[in-house]
Amino acid sequence: MDAKNYNTCVHEWADALFRFACKCTGNEEDARDIVQNSFEVLWQKKENVTPEKGKAFLFQVAYNQSVDMYRKKGRIQYQEELRTEASHHLSSPDLKRVLDRALAQLDDQARALVLLKDYEGYRYEEIAQITGLSDSQVKVYLHRARKTLKQYLVSVEHII
Protein backbone atom coordinates (compact mmCIF):
# COMPACT_ATOMS: atom_id res chain seq x y z
CA MET A 1 0.00 0.00 0.00
CA ASP A 2 1.39 3.42 -0.95
CA ALA A 3 0.46 6.89 0.21
CA LYS A 4 -2.21 7.21 -2.43
CA ASN A 5 -4.00 4.02 -1.28
CA TYR A 6 -3.63 5.10 2.32
CA ASN A 7 -5.27 8.46 1.63
CA THR A 8 -8.06 6.63 -0.21
CA CYS A 9 -8.70 4.59 2.93
CA VAL A 10 -8.90 7.82 4.93
CA HIS A 11 -11.57 9.27 2.66
CA GLU A 12 -13.59 6.03 2.47
CA TRP A 13 -13.46 4.60 5.99
CA ALA A 14 -12.73 7.44 8.44
CA ASP A 15 -16.43 8.19 9.03
CA ALA A 16 -17.45 4.54 9.44
CA LEU A 17 -14.55 3.91 11.77
CA PHE A 18 -15.52 6.94 13.82
CA ARG A 19 -19.14 5.78 14.17
CA PHE A 20 -17.97 2.32 15.25
CA ALA A 21 -15.57 3.78 17.80
CA CYS A 22 -18.27 6.15 19.11
CA LYS A 23 -20.66 3.27 19.79
CA CYS A 24 -17.95 1.11 21.31
CA THR A 25 -16.64 3.78 23.68
CA GLY A 26 -19.73 5.97 24.12
CA ASN A 27 -17.48 9.03 23.94
CA GLU A 28 -16.58 11.16 20.90
CA GLU A 29 -13.20 12.24 22.17
CA ASP A 30 -12.13 8.67 22.84
CA ALA A 31 -13.51 7.72 19.45
CA ARG A 32 -11.36 10.39 17.72
CA ASP A 33 -8.29 9.08 19.51
CA ILE A 34 -9.10 5.55 18.39
CA VAL A 35 -9.53 6.67 14.78
CA GLN A 36 -6.28 8.62 14.73
CA ASN A 37 -4.37 5.77 16.36
CA SER A 38 -5.85 3.27 13.92
CA PHE A 39 -4.72 5.26 10.89
CA GLU A 40 -1.34 5.84 12.48
CA VAL A 41 -0.86 2.10 12.84
CA LEU A 42 -2.02 1.57 9.26
CA TRP A 43 0.54 4.11 8.01
CA GLN A 44 3.31 2.46 9.97
CA LYS A 45 2.45 -0.96 8.60
CA LYS A 46 1.29 0.06 5.15
CA GLU A 47 4.00 -2.02 3.49
CA ASN A 48 2.42 -5.20 4.89
CA VAL A 49 -1.22 -4.31 4.19
CA THR A 50 -2.81 -4.59 0.76
CA PRO A 51 -5.38 -1.97 -0.29
CA GLU A 52 -8.15 -4.61 -0.27
CA LYS A 53 -7.44 -5.47 3.38
CA GLY A 54 -7.22 -1.86 4.53
CA LYS A 55 -10.76 -1.64 5.90
CA ALA A 56 -10.55 -4.89 7.85
CA PHE A 57 -7.15 -3.87 9.25
CA LEU A 58 -8.52 -0.53 10.46
CA PHE A 59 -11.52 -2.07 12.18
CA GLN A 60 -9.34 -4.71 13.76
CA VAL A 61 -7.07 -2.09 15.26
CA ALA A 62 -10.05 0.01 16.36
CA TYR A 63 -11.73 -3.03 17.95
CA ASN A 64 -8.61 -3.92 19.95
CA GLN A 65 -8.17 -0.35 21.11
CA SER A 66 -11.83 -0.01 22.14
CA VAL A 67 -11.61 -3.23 24.15
CA ASP A 68 -8.44 -1.97 25.85
CA MET A 69 -10.07 1.36 26.58
CA TYR A 70 -13.17 -0.36 27.99
CA ARG A 71 -11.03 -2.43 30.29
CA LYS A 72 -9.22 0.68 31.52
CA LYS A 73 -12.26 2.89 32.05
CA GLY A 74 -14.83 0.30 33.06
CA ARG A 75 -18.41 0.01 31.95
CA ILE A 76 -19.66 2.80 29.68
CA GLN A 77 -22.67 4.83 30.68
CA TYR A 78 -25.03 6.59 28.38
CA GLN A 79 -26.76 9.72 29.54
CA GLU A 80 -30.33 8.80 30.57
CA GLU A 81 -33.13 10.90 29.17
CA LEU A 82 -36.38 11.34 31.08
CA ARG A 83 -39.54 11.06 29.07
CA THR A 84 -42.67 12.88 30.13
CA GLU A 85 -44.99 11.18 27.67
CA ALA A 86 -45.77 7.50 27.59
CA SER A 87 -46.37 5.68 24.34
CA HIS A 88 -47.62 2.16 23.90
CA HIS A 89 -45.70 1.53 20.73
CA LEU A 90 -42.10 2.57 20.22
CA SER A 91 -41.56 5.12 17.45
CA SER A 92 -38.37 5.28 15.44
CA PRO A 93 -36.58 8.00 17.48
CA ASP A 94 -37.61 6.26 20.67
CA LEU A 95 -36.52 2.93 19.30
CA LYS A 96 -33.13 4.35 18.47
CA ARG A 97 -32.63 5.68 21.95
CA VAL A 98 -33.83 2.45 23.50
CA LEU A 99 -31.48 0.46 21.30
CA ASP A 100 -28.58 2.70 22.26
CA ARG A 101 -29.32 2.00 25.89
CA ALA A 102 -29.73 -1.68 25.17
CA LEU A 103 -26.38 -1.66 23.41
CA ALA A 104 -24.76 -0.12 26.45
CA GLN A 105 -26.02 -3.06 28.48
CA LEU A 106 -23.95 -5.49 26.43
CA ASP A 107 -20.35 -6.33 27.21
CA ASP A 108 -17.65 -4.74 25.04
CA GLN A 109 -17.09 -7.78 22.91
CA ALA A 110 -20.76 -8.42 22.16
CA ARG A 111 -21.32 -4.75 21.46
CA ALA A 112 -18.44 -4.66 18.94
CA LEU A 113 -19.79 -7.80 17.25
CA VAL A 114 -23.28 -6.28 16.86
CA LEU A 115 -21.82 -3.06 15.46
CA LEU A 116 -19.59 -4.86 13.00
CA LYS A 117 -22.57 -6.89 11.88
CA ASP A 118 -25.20 -4.15 11.65
CA TYR A 119 -23.11 -1.06 10.78
CA GLU A 120 -20.60 -2.57 8.36
CA GLY A 121 -22.43 -5.68 7.17
CA TYR A 122 -19.53 -8.07 7.81
CA ARG A 123 -20.25 -11.77 7.64
CA TYR A 124 -19.49 -14.16 10.52
CA GLU A 125 -16.14 -15.22 8.96
CA GLU A 126 -14.98 -11.65 8.42
CA ILE A 127 -15.94 -10.68 11.99
CA ALA A 128 -13.95 -13.67 13.17
CA GLN A 129 -10.84 -12.43 11.36
CA ILE A 130 -11.21 -8.93 12.76
CA THR A 131 -11.81 -9.93 16.34
CA GLY A 132 -9.58 -12.98 16.40
CA LEU A 133 -12.48 -15.29 17.35
CA SER A 134 -13.62 -18.45 15.64
CA ASP A 135 -16.64 -18.56 13.35
CA SER A 136 -18.71 -20.52 15.86
CA GLN A 137 -17.80 -18.18 18.67
CA VAL A 138 -18.91 -15.18 16.63
CA LYS A 139 -22.22 -16.89 15.85
CA VAL A 140 -22.90 -17.79 19.48
CA TYR A 141 -21.95 -14.34 20.85
CA LEU A 142 -24.10 -12.59 18.26
CA HIS A 143 -27.07 -14.81 18.98
CA ARG A 144 -26.81 -14.05 22.66
CA ALA A 145 -26.54 -10.32 21.95
CA ARG A 146 -29.66 -10.39 19.76
CA LYS A 147 -31.65 -12.13 22.43
CA THR A 148 -30.52 -9.59 25.01
CA LEU A 149 -31.49 -6.68 22.78
CA LYS A 150 -34.87 -8.26 22.02
CA GLN A 151 -35.62 -8.89 25.68
CA TYR A 152 -34.65 -5.27 26.48
CA LEU A 153 -37.09 -4.03 23.87
CA VAL A 154 -39.83 -6.24 25.26
CA SER A 155 -39.18 -5.02 28.79
CA VAL A 156 -39.24 -1.37 27.71
CA GLU A 157 -42.48 -1.89 25.87
CA HIS A 158 -44.06 -3.45 28.94
CA ILE A 159 -42.86 -0.55 31.14
CA ILE A 160 -44.02 2.09 28.74
Binding site: N7, V10, A14, R19, V35, F39, L103, R146, K150, L153
Partner: protein, 279 residues
Protein backbone atom coordinates in the same frame (compact mmCIF):
# COMPACT_ATOMS: atom_id res chain seq x y z
CA UNK B 1 -36.80 -27.51 8.41
CA UNK B 2 -38.17 -25.02 10.96
CA UNK B 3 -39.57 -26.46 14.19
CA UNK B 4 -40.64 -25.17 17.56
CA UNK B 5 -37.15 -26.04 18.88
CA UNK B 6 -35.16 -24.09 16.30
CA UNK B 7 -37.50 -21.29 15.06
CA UNK B 8 -35.77 -18.70 17.31
CA UNK B 9 -32.38 -19.52 15.80
CA UNK B 10 -33.87 -19.03 12.33
CA UNK B 11 -35.27 -15.66 13.40
CA UNK B 12 -31.86 -14.49 14.70
CA UNK B 13 -30.15 -15.67 11.51
CA UNK B 14 -32.76 -13.74 9.54
CA UNK B 15 -31.98 -10.57 11.58
CA UNK B 16 -28.25 -11.12 10.91
CA UNK B 17 -28.90 -11.56 7.17
CA UNK B 18 -27.39 -15.01 7.14
CA UNK B 19 -30.44 -16.97 5.95
CA UNK B 20 -30.53 -18.47 2.46
CA UNK B 21 -33.51 -18.11 0.14
CA UNK B 22 -34.93 -21.58 0.89
CA UNK B 23 -34.50 -21.15 4.63
CA UNK B 24 -36.16 -17.75 4.46
CA UNK B 25 -39.21 -19.24 2.74
CA UNK B 26 -39.38 -22.07 5.28
CA UNK B 27 -39.35 -19.62 8.20
CA UNK B 28 -42.06 -17.42 6.63
CA UNK B 29 -44.20 -20.50 6.04
CA UNK B 30 -43.76 -21.60 9.68
CA UNK B 31 -44.73 -18.12 10.96
CA UNK B 32 -47.73 -18.09 8.63
CA UNK B 33 -48.87 -21.35 10.16
CA UNK B 34 -48.27 -19.92 13.68
CA UNK B 35 -49.31 -16.25 13.68
CA UNK B 36 -48.51 -15.79 17.36
CA UNK B 37 -44.80 -15.90 16.39
CA UNK B 38 -45.10 -12.95 14.03
CA UNK B 39 -44.64 -10.33 16.81
CA UNK B 40 -41.51 -12.09 18.05
CA UNK B 41 -40.04 -12.13 14.53
CA UNK B 42 -40.63 -8.37 14.24
CA UNK B 43 -38.91 -7.75 17.56
CA UNK B 44 -35.79 -9.61 16.38
CA UNK B 45 -35.81 -7.56 13.19
CA UNK B 46 -36.07 -4.35 15.27
CA UNK B 47 -32.81 -5.18 17.06
CA UNK B 48 -30.86 -4.51 13.84
CA UNK B 49 -29.06 -1.20 14.32
CA UNK B 50 -28.74 1.35 11.53
CA UNK B 51 -25.68 3.65 11.29
CA UNK B 52 -26.15 7.34 11.92
CA UNK B 53 -24.74 8.86 8.73
CA UNK B 54 -24.78 12.35 10.28
CA UNK B 55 -22.00 11.27 12.59
CA UNK B 56 -18.79 11.96 10.64
CA UNK B 57 -15.13 12.40 11.44
CA UNK B 58 -14.24 16.05 11.03
CA UNK B 59 -10.95 17.36 9.62
CA UNK B 60 -10.00 14.25 7.70
CA UNK B 61 -7.10 16.22 6.20
CA UNK B 62 -5.25 15.74 9.47
CA UNK B 63 -5.09 12.03 8.74
CA UNK B 64 -3.72 12.37 5.20
CA UNK B 65 -0.12 11.49 4.53
CA UNK B 66 2.39 12.00 1.72
CA UNK B 67 5.38 10.03 0.53
CA UNK B 68 8.73 11.29 1.84
CA UNK B 69 10.06 13.98 -0.53
CA UNK B 70 6.76 14.26 -2.34
CA UNK B 71 4.04 16.85 -2.32
CA UNK B 72 0.31 16.42 -2.48
CA UNK B 73 -1.04 18.61 -5.26
CA UNK B 74 -4.68 19.16 -5.74
CA UNK B 75 -6.34 19.01 -9.11
CA UNK B 76 -6.63 22.81 -9.22
CA UNK B 77 -2.88 23.28 -8.83
CA UNK B 78 -2.11 20.71 -11.51
CA UNK B 79 -4.38 22.56 -13.91
CA UNK B 80 -2.69 25.86 -13.17
CA UNK B 81 0.84 24.55 -13.67
CA UNK B 82 -0.19 22.74 -16.86
CA UNK B 83 -1.69 25.92 -18.30
CA UNK B 84 1.45 27.91 -17.44
CA UNK B 85 3.65 25.29 -19.13
CA UNK B 86 1.51 25.41 -22.27
CA UNK B 87 1.78 29.21 -22.45
CA UNK B 88 5.57 29.06 -22.08
CA UNK B 89 5.88 26.52 -24.88
CA UNK B 90 3.75 28.66 -27.21
CA UNK B 91 5.85 31.75 -26.48
CA UNK B 92 9.10 29.90 -27.16
CA UNK B 93 7.81 28.43 -30.44
CA UNK B 94 6.56 31.84 -31.62
CA UNK B 95 9.85 33.54 -30.68
CA UNK B 96 11.87 30.87 -32.49
CA UNK B 97 9.79 31.19 -35.66
CA UNK B 98 9.91 34.99 -35.64
CA UNK B 99 13.65 35.01 -35.17
CA UNK B 100 14.19 32.54 -38.02
CA UNK B 101 11.88 34.51 -40.34
CA UNK B 102 13.76 37.72 -39.57
CA UNK B 103 17.08 36.04 -40.38
CA UNK B 104 15.78 34.71 -43.71
CA UNK B 105 14.47 38.14 -44.75
CA UNK B 106 17.75 39.76 -43.86
CA UNK B 107 19.73 37.23 -45.88
CA UNK B 108 17.52 37.79 -48.92
CA UNK B 109 17.94 41.57 -48.72
CA UNK B 110 21.71 41.35 -48.46
CA UNK B 111 21.86 39.04 -51.49
CA UNK B 112 19.79 41.43 -53.58
CA UNK B 113 21.92 44.42 -52.48
CA UNK B 114 25.10 42.59 -53.44
CA UNK B 115 23.68 41.57 -56.79
CA UNK B 116 22.74 45.19 -57.53
CA UNK B 117 26.13 46.52 -56.58
CA UNK B 118 27.97 43.95 -58.67
CA UNK B 119 25.96 44.52 -61.85
CA UNK B 120 24.59 48.03 -61.84
CA UNK B 121 25.29 48.39 -65.59
CA UNK B 122 22.05 46.67 -66.44
CA UNK B 123 20.14 49.76 -65.34
CA UNK B 124 21.76 51.79 -68.15
CA UNK B 125 19.76 49.85 -70.68
CA UNK B 126 16.35 50.58 -69.22
CA UNK B 127 15.37 52.08 -72.52
CA UNK B 128 12.61 49.82 -73.70
CA UNK B 129 14.77 47.30 -75.59
CA UNK B 130 13.27 43.84 -75.44
CA UNK B 131 16.64 42.12 -75.60
CA UNK B 132 17.98 44.13 -72.73
CA UNK B 133 14.88 43.23 -70.81
CA UNK B 134 15.57 39.57 -71.53
CA UNK B 135 19.08 39.85 -70.09
CA UNK B 136 17.70 41.51 -67.01
CA UNK B 137 14.94 38.94 -66.70
CA UNK B 138 17.51 36.14 -66.84
CA UNK B 139 19.42 37.78 -64.03
CA UNK B 140 16.27 38.23 -61.98
CA UNK B 141 15.35 34.57 -62.21
CA UNK B 142 18.38 33.78 -60.08
CA UNK B 143 17.44 36.25 -57.38
CA UNK B 144 15.22 35.37 -54.41
CA UNK B 145 11.55 35.81 -55.17
CA UNK B 146 10.78 37.78 -51.99
CA UNK B 147 12.76 40.92 -52.81
CA UNK B 148 12.99 40.72 -56.62
CA UNK B 149 13.06 44.24 -58.01
CA UNK B 150 10.23 45.09 -60.38
CA UNK B 151 10.97 47.05 -63.57
CA UNK B 152 8.15 48.54 -65.53
CA UNK B 153 8.59 50.55 -68.71
CA UNK B 154 5.73 52.32 -70.40
CA UNK B 155 5.86 53.85 -73.87
CA UNK B 156 4.12 57.15 -74.29
CA UNK B 157 4.36 60.18 -76.56
CA UNK B 158 4.71 62.52 -73.62
CA UNK B 159 7.92 63.82 -72.19
CA UNK B 160 10.01 61.10 -70.61
CA UNK B 161 9.65 60.98 -66.95
CA UNK B 162 11.33 58.83 -64.45
CA UNK B 163 11.05 58.35 -60.75
CA UNK B 164 12.80 56.20 -58.31
CA UNK B 165 11.03 54.63 -55.38
CA UNK B 166 12.65 52.58 -52.68
CA UNK B 167 10.90 50.46 -50.10
CA UNK B 168 11.60 47.40 -48.01
CA UNK B 169 10.40 44.80 -50.53
CA UNK B 170 11.93 46.16 -53.74
CA UNK B 171 11.89 49.14 -55.93
CA UNK B 172 9.91 50.19 -58.95
CA UNK B 173 11.28 52.36 -61.71
CA UNK B 174 9.37 53.97 -64.43
CA UNK B 175 11.27 55.25 -67.45
CA UNK B 176 9.57 56.40 -70.62
CA UNK B 177 11.15 57.69 -73.87
CA UNK B 178 9.70 59.03 -77.12
CA UNK B 179 9.20 56.32 -79.77
CA UNK B 180 11.83 57.87 -82.13
CA UNK B 181 14.55 57.64 -79.60
CA UNK B 182 13.56 54.06 -78.87
CA UNK B 183 13.97 53.11 -82.53
CA UNK B 184 17.47 54.58 -82.78
CA UNK B 185 18.63 53.02 -79.58
CA UNK B 186 17.52 49.48 -80.42
CA UNK B 187 20.61 48.37 -82.44
CA UNK B 188 22.88 50.10 -79.94
CA UNK B 189 21.08 48.34 -77.12
CA UNK B 190 21.52 45.01 -78.89
CA UNK B 191 25.29 45.42 -79.15
CA UNK B 192 25.60 46.64 -75.61
CA UNK B 193 23.48 43.71 -74.33
CA UNK B 194 26.06 41.33 -75.72
CA UNK B 195 28.82 43.44 -74.24
CA UNK B 196 27.04 43.48 -70.89
CA UNK B 197 26.70 39.73 -70.96
CA UNK B 198 30.41 39.26 -71.63
CA UNK B 199 31.41 41.86 -69.11
CA UNK B 200 29.01 40.37 -66.59
CA UNK B 201 30.81 37.05 -66.89
CA UNK B 202 34.14 38.80 -66.56
CA UNK B 203 32.98 40.74 -63.52
CA UNK B 204 31.91 37.56 -61.82
CA UNK B 205 35.23 35.96 -62.62
CA UNK B 206 37.28 39.00 -61.70
CA UNK B 207 37.89 39.08 -57.98
CA UNK B 208 38.61 42.80 -58.03
CA UNK B 209 35.03 43.65 -58.97
CA UNK B 210 33.41 41.21 -56.59
CA UNK B 211 32.20 43.03 -53.53
CA UNK B 212 32.74 40.68 -50.65
CA UNK B 213 33.56 41.27 -47.04
CA UNK B 214 37.01 39.81 -47.56
CA UNK B 215 38.13 42.39 -50.18
CA UNK B 216 40.11 45.39 -49.01
CA UNK B 217 37.97 48.47 -48.58
CA UNK B 218 39.99 50.57 -51.06
CA UNK B 219 39.56 48.07 -53.91
CA UNK B 220 35.84 47.83 -53.22
CA UNK B 221 35.40 51.57 -53.24
CA UNK B 222 37.37 51.87 -56.52
CA UNK B 223 35.29 49.12 -58.06
CA UNK B 224 32.13 50.90 -57.03
CA UNK B 225 33.30 54.15 -58.55
CA UNK B 226 34.00 52.50 -61.92
CA UNK B 227 30.60 50.87 -62.07
CA UNK B 228 28.65 53.88 -60.81
CA UNK B 229 30.24 56.09 -63.46
CA UNK B 230 28.15 54.31 -66.10
CA UNK B 231 24.95 55.43 -64.44
CA UNK B 232 23.06 58.71 -64.68
CA UNK B 233 23.06 60.89 -61.62
CA UNK B 234 19.44 60.16 -60.74
CA UNK B 235 20.08 56.47 -60.76
CA UNK B 236 23.16 56.88 -58.67
CA UNK B 237 21.10 58.68 -56.07
CA UNK B 238 18.59 55.90 -56.06
CA UNK B 239 21.27 53.32 -55.55
CA UNK B 240 22.74 55.33 -52.70
CA UNK B 241 19.35 55.50 -51.02
CA UNK B 242 18.88 51.78 -51.47
CA UNK B 243 22.33 51.12 -50.05
CA UNK B 244 21.57 53.23 -46.99
CA UNK B 245 18.37 51.33 -46.36
CA UNK B 246 20.15 48.02 -46.52
CA UNK B 247 22.88 49.22 -44.21
CA UNK B 248 20.27 50.27 -41.68
CA UNK B 249 18.63 46.86 -41.88
CA UNK B 250 21.90 45.10 -41.37
CA UNK B 251 22.69 47.31 -38.41
CA UNK B 252 19.34 46.53 -36.83
CA UNK B 253 19.90 42.82 -37.28
CA UNK B 254 23.32 43.02 -35.64
CA UNK B 255 21.89 44.99 -32.74
CA UNK B 256 19.05 42.53 -32.40
CA UNK B 257 21.42 39.83 -31.38
CA UNK B 258 23.08 42.10 -28.85
CA UNK B 259 19.73 43.25 -27.48
CA UNK B 260 18.58 39.67 -27.20
CA UNK B 261 21.59 38.84 -25.06
CA UNK B 262 20.48 41.26 -22.38
CA UNK B 263 16.81 40.42 -22.71
CA UNK B 264 14.76 38.69 -20.09
CA UNK B 265 11.53 36.72 -20.54
CA UNK B 266 9.33 36.44 -17.48
CA UNK B 267 5.99 34.67 -17.00
CA UNK B 268 3.77 36.02 -14.27
CA UNK B 269 0.35 35.07 -12.92
CA UNK B 270 -1.02 38.06 -11.07
CA UNK B 271 1.81 39.32 -8.89
CA UNK B 272 3.57 36.00 -8.69
CA UNK B 273 6.56 35.29 -10.97
CA UNK B 274 6.37 31.73 -12.21
CA UNK B 275 9.25 31.56 -14.68
CA UNK B 276 12.15 33.84 -15.66
CA UNK B 277 14.38 33.15 -18.68
CA UNK B 278 17.61 35.16 -19.17
CA UNK B 279 19.02 35.07 -22.73
Amino acid sequence: MVTWENYEEYMILQADGELGEAEQKALLEFVRLHPELEEEMKLYQATVMKPDTTCVFENKDQLLRQEPGGKIMTLGQWWMYGAAAGVIILILVAATRWFNTGSDTLNNNTEVAKAKEVNPVKNVFDSGSTQVQQVIADKQQHQPAINRPVHRRERSSSVAKQSVHSNTNGFVKEHTLPPTELETMKPIAHKMAVTVTIEKAKSLATPSLTLTDEQPEIIREEGKKDLLAWLPEEKQEGLHTLKENFDQRIEKAKNFKDNLKDAQLALKLGNKELLVINF
